[in-house]
């Protein structure tokens, strides 16, 4: 079906990314805004089912397959690309938007893939695209962070590839369908997926890498990698009980570190881990309601997290600061940003009439329905924690609290419109949840606005709000950086490596001194032989070639003589 190939939404974005890398001026702006819309139209013109099938090696691949779940994720990705492109329109970088579009296109490619091989290919493109987005911040710390990020994701890709290969060899079937973690191959696939979701013990890549991106780059980054991971888990491993505990760990990990954190964008990065944790719990529960909840939460989370990061990005772009201890009182001069940021904050705390309320409550309800009391209690406690760290802490320290004396104005029109669009969506989804519920993979008979739900949630929020202001003194941050697991690769490994190197040098010195001057290190050996007449580079004289021919011939003759 060449027809549908042309209209593959992922290719629309990837091709426009290639085009954007050479475009400038008004044409570029037009492509940035139109390409996601075009991708969205292309997506909704596709019927459901397997649309494009190819045979590759001995396997039957389906690079384009659409069902309700994949359409839901692809839609929010296209929408996110549009809003992110609009927000980043004025960003002065030739690399960032093409990289982000490549990244977004690959993410859509993953969710529209019907087989594991295609998933893997787009998975890797996604890793490349996101690394480029971080890189395009063009600072030294971003460069280093992008390398750490790329290393973890390439390692994750290798694990995933090993799993996919094992799966292909064992079953001969490439279809991406439900799996159980029952063989090494499937475990490897699960681990590969979880690394991208920001699961322990490697969660730290996320708050390490994302905040190093530019003020607009992080908006893109927040949406795609973790949510494609949620999608593949939804499709591949629904109802795997382990995921409940992994998810709960992520929920509390995010809360604790976000509360300790001082940098506003690192707070929001930790809260991504926390929110993805909710989704992973939903996937682990695995009932229809829970899966619906996880999918809906991914949808709404992309919107409000992007909104929060846009407001944080607007502050960063205007002030150049991102530490809570250096900000405050910005509501005087940035009223629109304050309002939008607050709507995002209310949404993430699941305030009734915002989008977070209608999605997160589905997961809690599923836990209650499944009689998972511990899970339900922990989720309720976590909801309060979310309000503490993201719902109040972020807007309070950035826009209110003490006056920092900064008086930046609201951002330019393109950024304002992007924020307004997502703020509107946050409220609209909260008020009319049916529109979103209709898109979910399973039929929904869940009603979010019952008196019990609303009252419980309001009580929860009220008391945690109270707690915040009572304990305000403890929560005031000092200008520090919090290291968690990334301590290992930011501090421990380098220092261990340095120590090892020191020991090694000692040893080498001793060996060289003790044994003889003849002992040379491999390094100097290679360096020496890279000279024009070195062993590695020089041309061999004809006679030595001829000698080798004789050696080979005699060796063969001798071996044949023996072997007979």
């Amino acid at each position: 079906m060449s027809n549908s190939l042309v209209l593959h939404p992922a290719f629309v974005l990837i091709v426009s990314a290639l085009a954007l890398s050479v475009m400038r001026g008004k044409g570029r702006n037009a492509v940035i805004l139109l390409a996601p819309i075009f991708a969205m139209i292309a997506l909704w013109l596709l019927p459901e089912g397997k649309l494009w099938e190819v045979d590759w090696l001995d396997y039957h691949l389906t690079p384009l397959a659409v069902d309700k779940l994949s359409r839901l994720f692809a839609s929010i990705f296209a929408l996110m690309t549009f809003a992110g492109g609009l927000f980043a329109l004025r960003r002065n970088s030739r690399l960032e938007i093409p990289a982000a579009f490549l990244y977004a296109g690959a993410a859509i490619g993953v969710v529209l893939a019907g087989d594991l091989v295609t998933v893997f290919v787009f998975w890797e493109i996604m890793a490349v695209g996101s690394t480029l987005v971080i890189w395009s911040a063009n600072t030294t710390s971003a460069w280093k962070a992008s390398l750490r990020y790329a290393m973890i994701h390439l390692a994750g890709g290798v694990v995933l590839f090993a799993g996919v290969t094992g799966h292909l060899l064992a079953t001969g079937d490439a279809t991406f369908s439900r799996m159980q973690p029952d063989s090494i191959a499937h475990w490897l696939i699960l681990v590969g997926f979880l690394i991208n979701a920001g699961a322990p013990p490697l969660s730290a890549w996320l708050p390490d890498a994302y905040p190093s991106a530019s003020w607009s780059g992080m908006v893109f980054l927040s949406a795609f990698t973790t949510k494609t991971a949620v999608y593949v888990l939804l499709r591949g491993f629904p109802g795997t009980e382990l995921l409940i505990w992994v998810g709960l760990f992520m929920v509390f990990y995010g809360i604790v570190f976000a509360l300790l954190e001082n940098d506003m964008r690192r707070i929001l990065a930790y809260s991504i881990v926390n929110q993805v944790g909710f989704m992973v719990v939903g996937i682990g529960i695995g009932t229809e309601l829970a899966l619906n909840g996880a999918a809906a939460h991914a949808f709404t989370h992309i919107i409000y997290k992007a909104l929060l990061l846009m407001s944080a990005g607007a502050v960063l772009a205007a002030t150049g600061r991102s530490k809570c201890s250096e900000l405050g009182g910005l509501f005087h001069s940035m009223p629109l940003t304050t309002i939008c940021g607050t709507i995002g904050a209310l949404s993430i705390s699941s305030f009734p009439l915002t989008s977070g309320f209608i999605s997160k409550s589905m997961i809690s309800q599923a836990a209650a329905d499944g009689h998972l009391q511990t899970v339900w209690l922990l989720l309720a406690a976590a909801s309060a924690g979310v309000f503490l760290h993201a719902g109040i802490k972020f807007p309070w320290f950035v826009f209110f609290q003490k006056d920092s004396g900064l008086r930046p104005s609201d951002p330019p029109a393109s950024m304002r419109w992007a924020m307004l669009l997502f703020a509107f969506l946050c409220v609209a989804l909260g008020v009319w949840p049916e529109e979103l519920y209709a898109l979910l993979p399973y039929p929904v008979d869940y009603v979010p606005y019952t008196a019990a739900h609303v009252v419980t949630q309001l009580q929860l929020l009220l008391f945690s709000g109270l707690a915040f202001f009572v304990m305000l003194d403890y929560l005031k941050r000092t200008p520090t950086i919090t290291l968690d697991v990334d301590w290992f690769w930011r501090v421990a490994y380098p220092s261990a490596a340095r120590q090892a190197a020191a020991h090694w040098e000692n040893l080498c010195a001793r060996v060289t001194a003790d044994v003889s001057v003849k002992a040379v290190t491999v390094r100097s050996f290679i360096a020496r032989h890279r000279q024009p007449d070195g062993l590695l580079v020089r041309s061999w004289p004809t006679r030595s070639m001829a000698m080798w021919v004789m050696v080979m011939l005699l060796a063969y003759l001798f071996l044949y003589y023996l072997g007979r």
Binding site: H529, V537, S544, A546, V549, L557, Y560, G563
Partner: protein
């Protein structure tokens, strides 16, 4: 008899006639037209033959209607129809490219000789591939070798002459060994027809003369195929030859020698002799591993881009012989596939490197070598060329989505079938070395600042870019649509393994 029945003869005769015609015309332009049209016709014929073999099975053509085993037989089966497509296809792509490329690399008055030699060279290669007669094979081998020596010597760099001379000596040793082996076989079987020889040989397989023939043949062909450690002629020959010649040689010459090796091992000696009774698979495995690691490692430290990719060719030949040493259908298929996949990728890369050479400023009329310090920041000036080299490089590494991945995949499958997990690790490790040398190019071209004193230069001309990009596109194409490569290679492997049992 209609023309269609004579296609096997025409496959060789047309290019063969084009060469003396080119000399007689003595005009570069006319010679170009003649040889190019011969190459294109040969390509069309090769595709037709491939289709005929695909539907109708093995074709046997008797030259001058002399019945084999007395007359010369051309025998086309799945394996050589596939190699014919590669050889004639490469000739058809390289010839149009060569016109603009040799403009600066070869003195104008010897252009017609260049075309004549190129015509002879691929005539010889096609002949080796198509013939079913041992002595005929030797004759064609000499035709292609002699013309190759001339082609390499045509390079303007003075070192081209030594490189060519060295290759002449080594090639002659190789050819002598091959003719000695054929002599022994003739002595023992009384026939030169390959199929007949295989029949007669089955009774006297482990006699000493046959084993000696096998040893001479293996060493002789290993030399021509640049199998480690007999590869030392190759880096110089590739580095100093004119760019178009390098591309043609890299994509076809060593590949055809490997074809001859496969043909003799499986069709004539039979694998029970080659693989079961003698320690040949172990030796070949060892040499392949050496090639994969040593040559790839040496490639990392080269400063001349052409030389870097020349060493990488030696490493890639290691993968091909590694597949042979498994003595299984998948291993053999991986080798045959890699012949093709590596041929197009390396051909494309060398054509692009030729484009870079064409834009370097000449010194006293001689284009300088593409060394890394001259390539710094190249991606800004020649983005299309550099991007193409990177894609070709990805195929050398074996990244999914490129042709190189497909053959490596089958190689890994074959290793797994044998339960040789450590070999899977070795294949992947050697790919890391390939990443390192490709990265060296990327680092220099994309991340290094352009030297201040360098004159800025533009993209290579379209007549150089289009043929090169045809091959690079083919690398991507055959990474996705594998029906031609994998289909042909698997069929050929099945056919060979059947005939060998």
């Amino acid at each position: 008899m209609s023309l269609a029945q004579h296609l096997p003869a025409l496959q060789v005769v047309l290019p063969l006639i084009s060469a003396p015609l080119a000399v007689l015309l003595r005009r570069g332009g006319l010679a170009f037209v003649i040889v190019t049209s011969a190459a294109w016709t040969a390509f069309a014929i090769a595709i037709t033959l491939w289709l005929q073999v695909d539907t109708g099975g093995t074709i046997s053509y008797h030259i001058g209607n002399w019945e084999p085993p007395w007359g010369i037989e051309y025998r086309i089966d799945r394996l050589n129809s596939f190699v014919l497509v590669l050889v004639s296809g490469m000739a058809a792509v390289v010839l149009p490219y060569s016109r603009a490329s040799i403009e600066r690399e070869i003195p104008r008055e010897s252009h017609y000789l260049f075309y004549a030699m190129l015509g002879l060279c691929f005539t010889g290669l096609l002949g080796i591939t198509i013939t079913g007669d041992a002595f005929n094979l030797f004759v064609f081998l000499e035709i292609s070798s002699l013309s190759t020596y001339v082609l390499i010597a045509l390079g303007r760099d003075r070192r081209a002459l030594t490189a060519s001379y060295q290759y002449l000596i080594m090639g002659s040793i190789g050819a002598t060994f091959i003719v000695i082996a054929i002599g022994f076989l003739y002595l023992m079987t009384g026939t030169l027809n390959l199929a007949d020889m295989a029949n007669n040989l089955s009774a006297i397989k482990s006699t000493r003369p046959v084993l000696v023939a096998l040893a001479f043949f293996t060493v002789g062909v290993s030399l021509k195929a640049a199998l480690f450690p007999l590869h030392q002629w190759l880096p110089n020959a590739y580095t100093y030859a004119p760019s178009a010649v390098t591309a043609l040689l890299a994509a076809t010459a060593t590949k055809v020698s490997l074809y001859a090796l496969i043909r003799f091992y499986f069709t004539i000696f039979g694998d029970s002799l080659v693989f079961d009774k003698l320690p040949l698979p172990e030796i070949m495995l060892l040499l392949s591993l050496f090639a994969m690691f040593v040559a790839n490692f040496v490639a990392i430290f080269q400063t001349n881009l052409k030389r870097l990719f020349a060493y990488s060719s030696v490493g890639q030949i290691g993968y091909i012989t590694l597949g042979l040493s498994f003595d299984s259908v998948h291993g053999l298929a991986a080798s045959i596939m890699h012949l093709f996949n590596h041929g197009i990728a390396k051909g494309g890369i060398f054509l692009l490197v030729g484009g870079i050479v064409a834009t370097l400023t000449t010194r006293q009329g001689i284009p300088p070598a593409p060394t890394f310090e001259r390539l710094a920041g190249l991606a800004k000036q020649m983005p299309i060329t550099c991007f193409g080299i990177v894609i070709g490089g990805l195929s050398l590494i074996g990244v999914p989505g490129t042709a190189g991945f497909i053959s490596k995949w089958y190689l890994i499958l074959a290793a797994m079938e044998k339960g040789q997990w450590w070999l899977v690790g070795a294949i992947l490790l050697s790919s890391l070395l390939a990443i390192a040398y490709v990265w060296r190019f990327v680092e220099v071209a994309y991340f290094r600042a352009q030297p201040v004193d360098q004159v800025s230069r533009g993209e290579a001309s379209l007549s150089l870019l289009i043929p090169a990009w045809l091959l690079i596109t083919a690398t991507i194409w055959f990474g996705f649509d594998t029906s031609f490569t994998v289909g042909s290679a698997l069929d050929a492997a099945h056919q060979l393994m059947r005939s060998a049992r």
